[in-house]
């Protein structure tokens, strides 16, 4: 469950950060540190895919569908919201 929260929140923050960065004059170092390093590592794909395998192995198909949809729809939606907000707020 915590993996969903971390992944969706991290997608939002990365969207926000990248949109803000397009408007600012941040150096390449800040992109590497915050974007790739901190936010890229805060979220994780490997725990996501092993969670899916564990849910399927336990026969919890409905929970698995819910987990995948929440992660993907939530991640895409919040990354988009983050980009929108970051593009407007200075």
């Amino acid at each position: 469950m915590s993996v969903v929260v971390v992944n969706v929140l991290g997608s939002f923050l990365l969207g926000l950060f990248l949109a803000r960065r397009e408007r600012a004059t941040g150096g390449a170092t800040s992109l590497q540190f915050w974007g790739i390093g901190v936010l890229g590592s805060f979220t994780t794909f490997s725990a996501f895919s092993t969670d899916v395998v564990e849910l399927l192995a336990a026969g919890r198909v409905l929970a698995c569908v819910g987990y995948v949809s929440m992660s993907l729809l939530g991640g895409l939606a919040l990354a988009r919201v983050g980009r929108r907000i970051g593009g407007v707020v200075r």
Binding site: N7, G10, S11, L13, L14, G15, L18, Q32, I36, G37, L39, G40, S41, F42, T43, T44, F45, S46, A47, F48, S49, T50, V52, V53, L56, V68, S71, L72, G75, L76, A79, R80, R83
Partner: protein
């Protein structure tokens, strides 16, 4: 101790991801984010391998989990799919390929060591 192992390994994983995705992206012109796909699938295989072992309470196993957590990334995947246009075939393909590939890789890793 476990906290230190996780943090250091996560940071090392992020550096590996940065170098490997940069190297892969520089070797083709398609603009398709193959680099992220490669690190996410190999990282899923790796975590499946680690979790297949019965006990993973050692510092070494924690370091492996931290490394793979930092090596793979969910947020970049989301941002790249979003950048392709949400209703586009490219985005749907990217999402499906990573999702199915990641689950199959994790399953393969798990079955190899359990």
């Amino acid at each position: 101790m476990s906290f230190v192992a996780l943090s250091v390994a996560g940071a090392v994983g992020a550096v590996f991801r940065y170098v490997i995705t940069g190297w892969i992206q520089s070797r083709h012109q398609s603009g398709y984010p193959v680099g992220t796909l490669v690190v996410n699938l190999t990282g899923s295989l790796g975590l499946g391998l680690v979790l297949g072992f019965d006990s993973f309470e050692s510092v070494g196993a924690l370091a492996a989990i931290g490394f793979l957590g930092g090596f793979t990334t969910f947020s970049t995947w989301m941002i790249e799919a979003l950048g392709m246009g949400l209703a586009s075939l490219r985005a749907a393909l990217n999402l499906a390929l990573s999702l199915l590939g990641g689950v199959l890789a994790a399953l393969a890793g798990f079955m190899l060591t359990s």
